[in-house]
C-alpha cells in the first residue's frame, strides 16, 4: 500500500530535496519578478478568475449571517420599533394638529387685534364656550358674565357683525346670532346708503332682506353695513353681502337673499362691544321697523 516502503517513494521521481530546491527557487524567482517588475499581473488576473468562485463562496457565510440577522431583526426588533414609531407618530400627529389650530387661532387673534385698533371702540375679547344645541336657534354662549357685559351689546369678529348679547348670566352671556330666526339688524347698502332690515333665516349661511321694494336700487354683491340706527350696532360694520335677488312684480317687495360676511359659526374668539352712548328715548308711537332685539323674548330653553 501507500506507505509500505520508502524505496518506492524515492523511486517515484526526483527526491524531495531536489523538488524542494526546485520549487523554492521557483518561488523566489517569482517573488523577485513580482516585487521588482509588473510582468505577472496578467497571470495573476487569470488565476484570480480561477479562484473567483471560491472567493464568491467565502462571502456567502457572512452574507447568510447578515440575512439571518436581518430576518430576526425583522421578527423581534422591527415589531418593537414599529410599535414605538406608531406611538411616536400618534403623539406627533396630535401635536401637529394642536399646532395647526394654535397657528390659526394666533392669526385670528392678530387680525382681531388689528381690527380693535382700527375701530377704536372699547371691546372685550370673549371666548365661545358653548353653542346652542337646538339647531333651529342660532345662539352662542360666551365666557363673559354679568360683571363684564350687558344685554344689547354687539358681538363682532374680525370681519364683521356676528350678533348681539341677549341674555346675561352670572358667568356666561348668551349671544343671538344675526342669522337667528328672531333677530334683525338695521343695515344700509354700502353703495348707496339705502336703509333696509336684515332678518335672520335660521340658516347660518343665509340672511333675508325683507321689505325692500321691487324697485329698490340693490344689486348682487352689494355689501350691507350696519346703519347705526337704534343704537345697538355701531354704524359701518360689515354684516352681509347680497347673494341673490328675485324681483317678482306680483309682490310689492323683492325677495333678497344675503350671506353673512363673517362665518357666524366659524369663530372661537369674538369681541363684545361696549354699549354705545345711550340714545334719547324713542318717542311713543305706533310701529317700529328697526327692532334690534329678538322679537320674541322668553323663548330661551333652559
Amino acid at each position: 500500500m501507500d506507505n509500505t516502503s520508502s524505496v518506492k517513494f524515492f523511486n517515484r521521481g526526483p527526491s524531495p530535496i531536489v523538488r524542494l530546491v526546485f520549487f523554492s527557487l521557483l518561488s523566489l524567482l517569482l517573488l523577485f519578478i513580482d516585487a521588482r517588475h509588473q510582468y505577472l499581473e496578467s497571470t495573476r488576473s487569470i488565476l484570480s478568475t480561477l479562484i473567483y468562485p471560491l472567493q464568491k463562496l467565502t462571502s456567502l457565510p457572512p452574507m447568510l449571517w447578515h440575512e439571518a440577522d436581518d430576518f430576526f431583526t425583522t421578527r423581534n426588533r422591527l415589531s418593537a420599533d414599529n410599535e414605538e414609531l406608531r406611538a411616536q407618530h400618534a403623539s406627533d400627529a396630535a401635536q401637529a394638529l394642536q399646532l395647526q389650530s394654535l397657528q390659526a387661532e394666533n392669526t385670528h387673534l392678530r387680525t382681531m387685534l388689528e381690527m380693535r385698533e382700527r375701530l377704536n371702540l372699547p371691546m372685550q375679547l370673549a371666548e365661545v364656550l358653548y353653542a346652542e344645541r337646538d339647531p333651529s336657534r342660532q345662539k352662542l354662549l360666551l365666557n363673559l358674565g354679568q360683571s363684564k357685559v350687558a344685554a344689547g351689546q354687539a358681538v363682532l369678529d374680525n370681519t364683521g357683525v356676528v350678533g348681539q348679547v341677549t341674555r346675561v348670566l352670572p358667568l356666561l352671556s348668551e349671544v343671538t346670532l344675526i342669522t337667528d330666526k328672531d333677530h334683525e339688524v338695521p343695515v344700509q347698502v354700502l353703495r348707496n346708503g339705502l336703509r333696509v332690515i336684515l332678518f335672520g333665516s335660521g340658516n347660518p349661511n343665509e340672511l333675508e332682506m325683507r321689505y325692500a321694494p321691487v324697485t329698490a336700487d340693490i344689486q348682487d354683491g352689494d355689501v350691507l353695513v350696519t346703519s347705526g340706527i337704534d343704537g345697538t350696532y355701531p354704524p359701518g360694520l360689515p354684516v352681509a353681502k347680497i347673494s341673490h335677488i328675485e324681483r317678482d312684480p306680483a309682490y310689492s317687495f323683492a325677495r333678497v337673499q344675503c350671506a353673512p360676511i363673517t362665518g357666524v359659526n366659524n369663530q372661537r374668539w369674538l369681541f363684545v362691544m361696549s354699549s354705545m352712548a345711550k340714545l334719547p328715548p324713542r318717542p311713543e308711537g305706533p310701529a317700529d321697523t328697526s327692532a334690534v332685539k329678538p322679537r320674541k323674548s322668553g323663548k330661551f330653553p333652559r
Partner: protein, 172 residues
C-alpha cells in the same frame, strides 16, 4: 505493537484525489473568510494544515509540486506577492514528506508539537519574505502558528472520519 498496527491502518485509509482537492479547496475557502483584526492574527492557516495532513498521511499521492501550486493560488487569493505562500508551503510540504514516518509514530498530542515546529518554520519563511519586501517583520501573525498547531488534532480527526468508508468503520 498492536496499537502501532492500528495506527498504521489509520494511515492506510483510502484517499481519492477528488477528496484531497476538495479538502484543499475547503481550506482555501476557510482562509478566505473575511477575517479581521485580532481574528485575522489568530486565524489558523487551514491550507497549511491540510497540506501538512496530506503530506504526512499520503506522501506518495501528494507532492511538493502540488503544495507549490496551492501556494500560488493562496497568493492570488491573499493578494500577497507571487511565491510568498508558495515558498512557505513548499517548505512545509518538504518537511511533512520527509518527516511523515516520524509523525506517524506519534499520537496526536505529540504530533501537535512536531506540526507546530514545521508550521513555525514555514511561517518564518513567509515572514522573511514579508520582511524583505515590506521592510518590517510581522510578529503578530506568529500567533497564527500556535492556533494552527492547536487545530491539528481536530482537523486530523475530522479528515480521518471523512476518509473512513461509511458503514464499515467497524472493520478497521
Amino acid at each position: 505493537m498492536n496499537v502501532l498496527l492500528q495506527k498504521d491502518r489509520e494511515f492506510m485509509l483510502p484517499a481519492r484525489p477528488a477528496f484531497i482537492v476538495a479538502s484543499l479547496l475547503a481550506a482555501l475557502l476557510f482562509n478566505g473568510l473575511p477575517w479581521g483584526g485580532i481574528w485575522l492574527a489568530l486565524r489558523p492557516d487551514m491550507v497549511a494544515l491540510v497540506l501538512l495532513y496530506w503530506c504526512t498521511h499520503k506522501p506518495h499521492r501528494f507532492g511538493i509540486g502540488f503544495a507549490w501550486v496551492i501556494g500560488i493560488l493562496a497568493d492570488v487569493a491573499d493578494a500577497s506577492l507571487f511565491g510568498q505562500h508558495a515558498l512557505a508551503y513548499t517548505l512545509l510540504a518538504f518537511g511533512g514528506i520527509v518527516l511523515h514516518r516520524r509523525v506517524q509514530m506519534f499520537n496526536l498530542q505529540q504530533q501537535t508539537l512536531q506540526v507546530f515546529l514545521m508550521l513555525l518554520a514555514s511561517y518564518a519563511a513567509y515572514a522573511a519574505v514579508h520582511w524583505q519586501v515590506r521592510g518590517h517583520f510581522a510578529w503578530g501573525f506568529m500567533l497564527g502558528s500556535v492556533t494552527s498547531a492547536m487545530m491539528w488534532a481536530p482537523l486530523t480527526l475530522l479528515l480521518q472520519s471523512l476518509r473512513r468508508p461509511k458503514g464499515n468503520s467497524e472493520r478497521l
